[in-house]
Symmetry: C2
Subunit: 243 residues, 2 copies
């Protein structure tokens, strides 16, 4: 393993942080590294909003779960698909902005390629990180707290800080169960791979002293009821086109 | 700079590759590194289809542009949001799968966090890479070529191989024009940052002997007409819910 692959394997989501701040110089270094990720036709359709206001941080921590780490970590960021800068350019050119699913999709993809570089850069500097999907619990409230204009579409949060815990790594599906050749496997093959993973997952939970269960039991529960309805209406209200 | 941040800064999209193959052991190493990226509630909503069939590779190269590098690179992958494994689990549990924008969004985000780790792992092993958004030119045809079942939603391709060129790096927007505090800047501030970037971008084109133009001219053109319409219908036909 080379140093980068080693660093990647050391990743754990960190949920407890010390009181140490994250110096602005480190944030800029991680930004510049993040921005080196590929971006479709150089459109750079994302932005990052660092939340430093204590009251806003607490409100976001509350709406995200509550998840107190959003308030307590060294630095908290909201990663957004940013269609606004393109809207402003098109408007200045006297044209009409043409909203498309393609634009929103590229915004989401390129923001996430950026975010993973951003995260790894922080981890390479010794910080821990945790993505916060919980901000999608109430995007309209988040939007009001940050006063986001049309075209700025928040996707998820990111906690960064000095780790104050050292959790074990949760096992992933086997690589062979995620990588296929020329087509997708049969349902029987997929379910057999899931059964093998369930055994690994149950052992992981048992070894940690947690209530033993299976991955597929968690998945069956999670995807059999509606999750965060209203997201589409919210993004549409920001000028995104998801159809 | 540490070795990971240095590697990140060495990234260039590579469009010309030697004939060298990419050994399967390297592909598995990059997969395992990719899978270490964070994934929301461990749902792992993505998969990778490596295309090794020569005729399919050529058809995908054609529909993507044409972009001959899709055929000529050492290894070509299609990165997909994978809702199917969750659908199968929910079905086996006797429940109804509840499609949601949240599920598709998490599929797109987590696939892309994976993809950036996957890409960096390849780059750390000495390979060059290029994301291929062009597969979205004709997803229904790609779908038939790879015989993808319901729930498997291709997002973009990825070329990997030994570089046979050494391009310069395209300048990015200034980090300060992408990172904001507590809110988004005013339109005047955004447009002023765009003007500054236009100067840097024009100089970059001029230095390379390319036709001088500005970033904002390219953006104004790109976003004032419809792009890849029909994407939403395609993803809906795969069982995704984008509303």
């Amino acid at each position: 393993m080379n140093p980068t692959i080693e660093l990647i394997h050391e990743h754990r989501s960190i949920r407890k942080y010390t009181d140490d701040a994250v110096p602005h110089a480190h944030i800029l270094e991680a930004m510049r590294a993040g921005q080196m990720a590929a971006t479709s036709s150089a459109v750079q359709p994302y932005c990052v909003i660092r939340v430093t206001d204590d009251e806003k941080r607490q409100r976001i921590a509350d709406l995200s779960g509550p998840q107190q780490k959003v308030r307590d970590c060294g630095a908290f960021f909201v990663i957004c698909a940013d269609l606004r800068k393109h809207m402003l350019i098109v408007d200045r050119a006297g044209e009409d902005y043409n909203a498309s699913l393609e634009a929103f999709l590229v915004g989401t993809i390129d923001a996430s390629l950026f975010a993973q570089n951003f995260t790894l850069a922080f981890e390479s500097l010794g910080y821990g990180t945790c993505y916060i999907g919980g901000i999608r619990n109430d995007l309209p409230l988040l939007d009001r707290l940050l006063n986001l204009p049309e075209g700025v579409c928040p996707l998820y949060g990111l906690c960064v800080g000095v780790p104050d815990e050292s959790p074990s790594s949760r096992p992933r599906l086997d690589a062979e169960a995620m990588l296929f050749e020329n087509t997708y496997p049969t349902d029987d093959e997929t379910l057999a791979a899931i059964d093998r993973y369930d055994e690994v997952y149950t052992k992981y939970l048992t070894d940690r002293g947690a209530q033993p269960s299976t991955w597929s039991a968690a998945i069956a529960k999670k995807f059999s009821y509606a999750s965060r309805s209203g997201l589409g209406d919210y993004y549409a209200s920001k000028g995104a086109n998801l159809c």
